[in-house]
Amino acid sequence: MEKSGTMNPTEQRLQAVFREFFNDDAIELQDGTTFSDIRGWDSLAHVNLINALEVEFGLKFGVRELMKMKSVGAIRQVLMAKASAA
């Protein structure tokens, strides 16, 4: 994932969801960002974050996609794949 200025629209929206969800405008997403990098990203927050992403992007993730979404990079890849398939 690129720095904010060079992000594509999907990445910008993804970062906006993270910032709003975790109430932290300083969040700069990287592909390697995981649970341990963001304060409050526990399993309860994760399921609510997934719900928020589904609302923002107007889609529903399948079980196998959900199992992959353990880092920002993985979430981004799933979102991009769904966007290109749509």
Binding site: F35, W41, D42, S43, L44, H46, V47, V63, L66, M67, K70
Partner: protein
């Protein structure tokens, strides 16, 4: 340590939040157990995860007890379950039991402890229950992996069943979310409410 000293030490450990929760629970308590089931043909579509083991007493023995827990009491309980023909799925990480979940091949009724009611189930289905992830292994998706693995394995290895049942507390948000996302069919709920000494139990 005298009884008085023990009482003082215990009171010192109590936070106001704990006191408030206990006081509230004394006055009012509510619980909902939600019953779900998965048809065998749908369970067979899930993936088995090779890291999970079946009926491994060796794995169970790597359990590290939490504060205030008796490891011996748990092992005795688990040995009894295995001897009674129940089954367990386990996964260890670095020599420690990371997660486990139990399964009974055929169950016609069971007592739901949270709501203090007996549930009768038709056609003697398989039942999965008592899933637990050790705190240091949470946030790694072991729970949904075990859920899918146990459903698939049970569907493939228990002959003659049509359904696999499971029970989830309504306020157990993460397991409930995964059970519903896996497409388990909601059957009904069992409820318990107590206001002071007045108890109500119902289902619907």
């Amino acid at each position: 340590m005298s009884d008085a000293a023990r009482l003082i030490a215990r009171l010192k450990r109590l936070s106001w939040e704990k006191v408030r929760r206990r006081a509230r629970r004394t006055v009012y308590h509510f619980a909902e157990d939600r019953i779900y089931r998965v048809p065998v043909e749908e369970a067979l579509e899930f993936d088995e995860v090779p890291e999970f083991r079946f009926d491994s007493w060796d794995d169970l023995q790597t359990y590290v007890a939490g504060p205030g827990e008796s490891r011996e009491a748990l092992l005795t309980l688990w040995r009894g379950r295995l001897d009674a023909g129940e089954h367990v799925y386990t996964r260890t990480e670095n020599g420690c039991l990371a997660i486990y979940g139990w399964m009974i091949e055929r169950q016609s009724s069971c007592f739901l402890t949270d709501v203090r009611q007996r549930m009768e189930v038709p056609d003697a289905p398989a039942v999965t229950y008592d899933f637990f992830t050790a705190p240091e292994f949470r946030h790694r998706d072991f729970y949904p992996q075990l859920l899918m693995h146990s459903l698939r394995h049970t569907a493939a290895h228990v002959p003659g069943i049509r359904w696999i049942y499971m029970c989830v507390r309504a306020d157990d948000t993460v397991p409930r979310w995964w059970v519903e996302r896996l497409g388990a069919h909601y059957c009904e709920s069992y409820f318990y409410r107590r206001v002071l000494w007045r108890e109500e139990k119902w289902r619907g």
